[in-house]
Amino acid sequence: MKKAAILLASLILSISLAQVKIGILSPLTGGAAGTGQAQKAGFELALEEINAAGGVLGEPLEILIEDTQANSDVALAAFEKLMTEDEVEFIGGGFSSGVTLGLIESFKTFQPVVSWIGGAVSGVGIDGFDGIEELVGEEPWFFHVHPWDYQNTAAANAFVASTGVGSVALLHEDSAFGGPGAATSERVIEEQGIDVVLNEAFKSTLTGGTGDFRAAISKAAASNADLLYWIGYDSDVVPMTSQIRELNFTPNYIFGTPPGWPSDYTEAPEAECVAGLIGFLPSLPTPEAKAFADAYEAMHGAAPDNYAAALAYAQLWSYADAINAAGSTDQAAVIEQLESLSFKSPMGEWSFGQSEISPHQGFGSEMWLVFQYQNGVREIVWPEDKATAPLASCN
């Protein structure tokens, strides 16, 4: 009897002290490695802080990061490894709509709690195509951290409207990122009474383009638009803006929405007056932003220059808080806490709420900031309540 009691007690103890493992899927290598490495840096910082604060359920939290290479086949194998070999109950990370679409069938099979950063293609507003929000948004175990595509577009277009310009030339890369985004932007901008005088596609350097955007820029210059709005990738930033200078195109505003900006671009002469959309900047005037930026720099020796780091940090903290509040790894209890709690993040307090379809949407269009390179500094110029400097004209 005594033996059985001891056995039962040790079993209960071993269950309660079991280390919580969170599986992370992130593109650490390949074309999206910049974002993946930024996510990893954010996770590492959050992990250190969480464990220093007592861990999860009294034990150090463990994260298992699997490289997806931003490739659907690799990501699928990595997810199935996490579920069946590592036996994790929670999935984090996430990037690329194509990769996410390839994982959905397997997500639905295993149904772990999935908190997903990337994969913004919602499918909302695209006829005949089911996007991520349409396919998985209503699932009780799916939580989406990053804003959806229509929320990104809403923020960018609100900024364009706030400039008071009369005409816009729209240049966009021709793949799944820029194509649908440009179509929606054109419609929304025109609804705001602003003329879209040009909507021209170019081939991004990321998808095999040469980096020569002169033909598209010349058309934009000929259109005499007040604002040049370009949608492309990080690797297009330098050729795009240097060729705008080379061709002496001087619209009032140059506004780009690549997922990230080259870290050493701030000092480049062609950066002056270029504006861009970003999810987080260390200069954000909040205590959370400063604390995150200082801790990040102390750990990694550089400032966080990709907002994916801030999102990853926020995501891991939300898991830790929810599991601790639930008092166990029971899926229903953790989901209930994720649904009801507010979490800390470098962007301020946040929680999961309703989007077009999903009841579990994290950040919305309010996450976005517009910065402008001014004298070698990235100043926040929009929205007004977070601005560190007024928007300057390029003319």
């Binding site: 650490l28 290598t29 990061i65 490289d67 490739n71 659907s72 086949d73 690799v74 699928l76 194998a77 199935e80 490894k81 579920m83 069946t84 070999e85 036996e87 194509g98 679409l101 390839g102 959905i104 069938e105 397997s106 099979t109 295993f110 149904q111 293609v121 695209i126 006829d127 005949g128 195509f129 089911d130 996007g131 396919l135 021709d174 793949s175 799944a176 990122f177 820029g178 194509g179 649908p180 998808t207 095999g208």
Partner: protein, 332 residues
Amino acid sequence: MKLRMNLVLLALAAVLLFFLPDLLKLFFDKASVSYLSLLINATSLAILALSWDILARTGQLSLAHAAFFGAGAYSTAILVKQTDVSLWLGLPLAALSAVLLALLLGSVTLQLRGIYFAIATLSFAEVLKAVIQKLPSSLAGGAAGINVEPLFRPQFIAGEMERWEIAFLRNESYFLLYAGLLLATIVLSLLIESSSLSYAFSAIRTNEEVAAVMGVKAARFKLLAFVLSSMPVGILGAIQAHRIGSVSPDETFNVGTTVLALVTPIFGGLYTSLGPILGALGLASIEEFLRRTFSEGYLIGYGIVLVLSILFMPKGIMGLLRSLRKAQRESL
């Protein structure tokens, strides 16, 4: 005689492959899901490599594999989207579309040689991708792409099975389909190897002018090799589209597909049926081993392995095996 022997070995391999998923489940329980996923990727790589090698036997360096893969994927995706016919009809349609493209591309490029042929085939994949993007969205989905229904969707029965068993059943079905396509590609390759086609291909590869003097109609044989090479890739593209659940121009016409199709048979050993398969199994195993051993920088190790293999195994794994066999024979 040699063909008959090879076909017997292939039949034995088919039996082993058929029972492999159940053996994995028996020994590794739920981890078999993950291992099957890796095996599917390795099998897919072997199909790409072996089908590419079939054309390489004529001396042509094709960079069009992404185009055939994409054509197969898109033809099945469009069929599924636009009609209510059986999903399985997409597979022969994919083969047909790849063959038609090969005939079109081959008839205009096979007079080109070496790097000029390579550039023309690479451009073709890019042109096809651009065409897909420009087609009406209602037909080809535009830049966003098209959703594709899975070929296999086992149903979960609560209380009778665990969730991982659904994943196992799905992976088992896809693995058998990929393995079946690989076996069919091997049979095709063996038939070529054992027929007079292999002499014609070899003669064209060695010296096209001399081959012509000997009566080998190079253009016709190269076109045939192009068609035979494209067919398995087209079907592979279709199966992949069903498994991943969507197609999009960027993901489907990915130049990485062509690079893998080229590197793998070089690593395994060109102009044989076994070489590309050994290459695929070797590269997939090395990558996974490195990934599991070194969480950071494993691709550096993978790159070093490739460089070393080019330096010290210029004829690939098959060349190494031949050297070892020769050395063994000489020592006896």
